[in-house]
């Protein structure tokens, strides 16, 4: 058995790099981390079994790549989605999108676009994980406890003692609207305060903004006063976990709250959204095209529409779909099954589908089968996750490059 210490976890976006991985002849297993995502997703069998398939039948990689190129060439409205891959994979997907005129999106971009809508019309004031850990004396969580999507958030970024606060200062955590999960109470060594538990997110933020002037119920006025007297307050939200009642307008309200408080003392936001290298996929798209995800390359031009070009909106009208999913084994299979045109899937070998894709090419997971760069969800730190096991699985980036190279030879079908 071999042990790798300090493996980088590419999954939820918190960028944990302290995972211990045991490797045996049968595969790899993580030593328990307390994170359900890492504990299950680092479990990989040495012989995952499934090879490339074309039309459901086993095929060589060459045949599968050629079939993929045939399906994607000459289409009117192809879609490249999922985009759950490392930066190299994303860049390769963007190059391919440029060639075939595809629209691109990441599977988990819904919450990100609630945030970007505000960034693009107003801007924002935000901070990053190490600042939170070292400086924050008041942390206000708006909406649901992020622990369900970002399991070690409290343990790694809030529980450690803040080094840059005066000696004896204590960090306070307050939930606005949401309810702390048991793991959070455990990680923080006690239950954090809650204000307006169970109330609507948008209404709660509005009430708090009004309370900064001293109007409203005592709980809100008190919370407003504490924000204004904190040294370095941080307002945390995970827009992807907001329910239907909370939209980009809720995010805007949070940003305006932060900005008001930040005029006299320090206050910053911490938007959490970065599962499966979402932050890296978006950033690579921004640097390559000048636009965020949900951008179309149709006609050799670029056009971006944060609503109309989401994968969920585009999928029904697309005449070919390339779905990339290299981190975890499940996909929105029911949605993909509804695609009218051919589906090419580049996914982990263990992935199952409701409907067999026209072409299936198993790819490795960045940070497990091959090295790859993934962004932390605060978008500042890119991590280089190294390989842990050789199972003969190709990088998504290489498969995408090969599909691109085959396009020149492939007559459109």
């Amino acid at each position: 058995m071999a042990l790798t210490k300090n493996a980088v976890c590419p999954f939820c976006g918190l960028g944990c790099d302290d995972i211990a991985i045991e490797r045996t002849e049968t595969g790899i297993t993580p030593q328990p981390t307390g994170c359900p995502q890492a504990d299950s997703l680092f479990q990989r069998s040495a012989s995952p079994g499934s090879g490339p398939r074309v039309g459901g039948a086993p095929a060589s990689l060459e045949e599968a790549v050629a079939a993929a190129a045939r399906h994607l060439a000459g289409r009117r409205a192809p879609l490249i989605a999922g985009m759950q891959t490392d930066v190299a994979g994303v860049l390769a997907a963007l190059s391919l999108a440029d060639r075939i005129g595809a629209t691109v999106d990441h599977r988990h971009s819904e919450g990100l676009f609630r945030n970007l809508a505000v960034l693009q019309r107003l801007g924002w004031t935000v901070t990053t994980f190490a600042e939170v850990r070292n400086r924050a004396d008041l942390i206000l969580v708006v909406g649901p406890d992020p622990v369900a999507s970002y399991p070690r958030f409290w343990e790694r970024w809030v529980a450690p003692a803040p080094a840059l606060l005066p000696e004896g200062s204590r960090r306070q955590v307050v939930f606005l609207g949401g309810t702390p999960e048991p793991k959070t109470i455990d990680d923080l060594g006690g239950a954090p305060e809650t204000v307006a538990e169970g109330a609507g997110i948008n209404d709660s933020v509005t009430a708090l903004r009004l309370a900064l002037d001293g109007s409203g119920t005592e709980a809100f006025v008190d919370l407003g006063r504490r924000l204004l007297t904190a040294r370095y307050a941080v307002v945390v939200w995970a827009a992807g976990m907001f329910g239907g009642e909370a939209s980009d307008l809720t995010v805007e309200s949070i940003v305006r709250l932060v900005r008001t408080v930040d005029t006299t003392t320090r206050c910053s936001g911490l938007p959490l959204s970065g599962t499966d290298n979402l932050a890296g996929a978006n950033y690579a798209c921004v640097w390559r095209t000048g636009f965020p995800l949900r951008t179309s390359f149709a006609g050799g031009l670029l056009s971006h529409d944060p609503d109309a070009m989401s994968w969920a909106r585009r999928l029904p009208g697309s005449d070919a779909v390339l779905w990339i999913s290299s981190f975890r084994h499940e996909t929105p299979a029911a949605d993909i099954a509804r695609a009218k045109g051919p589906v090419v899937a580049l996914a982990t070998p263990e992935t199952t589908f409701d409907k067999e894709p026209d072409v299936f090419i198993p790819v490795g997971t960045p940070g497990i089968d091959h090295a790859g760069d993934v962004f932390r969800s605060d978008s500042v730190l890119a991590l280089h996750a190294r390989a842990l096991i050789d199972r003969g699985l190709p990088r998504a980036a290489d498969v995408l490059d090969r599909i691109g190279a085959s396009l020149t030879e492939a007559p459109a079908c």
């Binding site: 300090n6 980088v8 960028g15 790099d17 302290d18 930066v87 860049l91 190059s95 440029d98 970007l116 960034l119 693009q120 019309r121 107003l122 801007g123 924002w124 004031t125 935000v126 901070t127 990053t128 994980f129 190490a130 600042e131 850990r133 070292n134 400086r135 790694r156 970024w157 450690p160 080094a163 840059l164 040294r231 370095y232 930040d262 003392t265 320090r266 910053s268 950033y283 690579a284 921004v286 640097w287 390559r288 095209t289 000048g290 636009f291 965020p292 390359f297 050799g300 031009l301 670029l302 056009s303 971006h304 760069d373 962004f375 978008s379 500042v380 730190l381 890119a382 991590l383 280089h384």
Partner: protein, 555 residues
């Protein structure tokens, strides 16, 4: 592959050749000596009458990294309005002030630039910046690491660890982040802002650590010098943009005298408080101080009129700019106990007194600084203007009549407050070749770049001599990168990848123990996760390391 560039007018100040007619020979990407009468070139370009220079280098251009991506997203209107379609060999892109990566490479190359350096790379954002720089085709790149507001350095200094420990830290960071140089931005001021102190003067003690900006800038300048890093400390001083900051700038020059430093976008640091509007030019005083400080170099950060976006680690200063930004939206970030980031879209208007005077101050500085080896052509892209304005800027410097015609168009009260109209100097082609080629390569320690001598890389640009210098520098006839024609008559004919330039000075790696603990306890990141390995740079293809000759006592 042997190429002969025959009979051009060579402007090669690094080798003492100015307007000397001669041949250049390139073999396998590098300039070689004339191989003699029997040599049979595979390719010959008849350049008689044409002007030949080395590829141009931009020493200060924000081309990649987190703040650029934020700026691109904030400048969404401009990106929608300026989509650059895919054509020929070129992929599509968008944007003017914050062009996407492919567009950045194409536009620079079309203007004869073969290298551009990102001047503000944060340590925790370095891997991102390198990934993004590697996606810019056509150009050599590299980054200057931002230090001087990082809690580790300030703690090291405040705890009395001494200069040699600082040197070790700086050396370690240069290596770990694969940087080419060190930049300091508003020394201590960004850190102070995190403690809610919103202004910090050169001799004011900052919160928590009790250090002054003067302490920080001199300590870092010393460290960079002792380690033998070729590029002196790149200084973005205190009080950027503040009327009256000319005094701070002069004091900073004084504080660092005896040590080489490079003061960047000095136009933004040359403002007086005279006149009814309490905003005036300090260019003459600054130029005089620079002219008599042989160890000091500067770049200008010229303002040119139009829409752009300002992006800086100097977050507190940017909060002030936000009130006058356009369109009115802005981003402010505190980043990883290292620095920050402020992004504010901005429109410089020739009918605004302040903007018009900023434009004039930049030009005064260019024209009053008498040594083209110590002044560099920059707009602090995109902060003063997009880099695509360089041909216009060159024309303003080379053509007095044109300059006067533009001076007549600005805010009517501004010309009375600048000496620009009375300055007769016109830059020569030799000055331009020095300022954009020979001097930047020398100040960065890029020995085989910026000149046309034997051993130099085959980055060569060929122009037709035209009276309209903007037209001339906008569209060279030929651009060679590593000996390959990449641009012909302003069109990209070959897409190539450049190199990433770095340094790796020697240092006592005992510092790593303290750093490992710091990364573990404070940053929540393992020190090995932070460190960027050589094979990560351009996938192991294209890392260039430049020598450092330590000047410390070695103990």
């Amino acid at each position: 592959m042997l190429i002969k560039l025959a009979g051009g007018r060579l402007f090669d100040p690094a080798n003492g050749r100015v307007d000397v007619t001669g041949d250049i020979w390139i073999r396998d990407g590098r300039i070689v000596a004339d191989p003699g009468p029997g040599a049979k070139p595979d390719e010959t370009h008849d350049l008689s009458g044409r002007i030949v220079m080395a590829g141009a280098t931009d020493i200060h251009s924000h081309i990649a990294g987190g703040k650029l991506n934020i700026a691109r997203m904030l400048m969404s209107e401009e990106h929608h309005a300026h989509v650059h379609p895919a054509h020929g060999l070129c992929g599509c892109g968008s944007g003017i002030a914050t062009p996407s990566t492919l567009t950045t490479g194409y536009r620079y190359a079309e203007m004869g630039f073969t290298a551009a350096f990102e001047p503000a790379m944060l340590g925790m954002n370095a891997r991102h910046t390198h990934l993004e720089m590697a996606d810019i085709p056509m150009l050599d790149t590299g980054g200057y690491l931002v230090l001087g507001n990082d809690d580790f350095l300030l703690d090291l200094m405040a705890s009395g660890a001494g200069q040699s420990a600082v040197n070790d830290y700086v050396g370690w960071m240069l290596e770990a982040t694969q940087s080419l140089g060190i930049k300091v931005v508003n020394p201590g001021g960004i850190n102070a802002f995190k403690f809610n102190q919103r202004k910090l003067d050169l001799d004011e003690q900052g919160p928590h650590y009790g250090l002054t900006p003067r302490d920080i800038v001199t300590t870092l300048a010393r460290a960079v010098h002792d380690l033998g890093v070729p590029h002196p400390l790149h200084v973005h001083g205190c009080n950027l943009g503040v009327p009256g900051n000319v005094a701070t700038t002069l004091e900073t020059i004084q504080a660092t005298s005896g040590l080489p430093i490079h003061m960047t976008h000095i136009q933004f640091h040359s403002y007086g408080t005279e006149g009814d509007r309490k905003f005036s030019s300090g260019a003459a005083a600054i130029a005089e101080a620079v002219n008599r400080s042989p160890l000091l170099s500067v770049d200008i950060g010229q303002v040119l009129f139009g829409q752009t976006v300002t992006a800086s680690a100097d977050v507190g200063t940017q909060r002030g700019t936000a009130a006058v930004g356009s369109p009115r939206k802005w981003v402010s970030m505190d980043i990883e106990c290292e620095a920050g980031c402020g992004v504010v879209p901005f429109k410089y208007r020739d009918k605004s007194y302040v903007n018009a005077l900023q434009w004039a101050i930049g030009l005064e500085l260019f024209l009053l600084l008498d040594d083209p080896w110590r002044v560099f052509l920059t707009t602090d892209h995109p902060n003063g203007a997009p880099f695509t304005f360089y041909p216009e800027l060159i024309r303003l410097l080379m053509d007095r009549d044109y300059r006067l015609s533009k001076l007549a168009e600005i805010h009517p009260d501004a010309p009375a407050h600048t000496t620009l109209g009375s300055i007769a100097r016109e830059y020569t082609l030799a000055d331009i070749a020095t300022m954009t080629r020979a001097a930047p390569a020398r100040i960065l320690g890029l020995e085989d770049r910026g000149h046309l001598g034997v051993g130099a890389i085959g980055d060569v640009v060929v122009y037709t001599d035209q009276p309209n210098r903007a037209a001339m520098f906008e569209k060279p006839d030929l651009v060679f990168k590593n000996g390959q024609v990449i641009v012909r008559a302003g069109e990209i004919v070959s897409v190539v990848q450049g190199f990433t330039h770095t340094v790796r000075p020697g240092y006592d790696n005992l510092i790593e123990r303290r750093l490992a603990k710091y990364f573990d306890e404070r940053m929540g990141v393992n020190i090995d996760t932070f460190r960027i390995k050589d094979d990560e740079i351009r996938n192991g293809q294209g890392l260039v390391r430049h020598a450092c000759n330590a000047r410390g006592d070695g103990c």
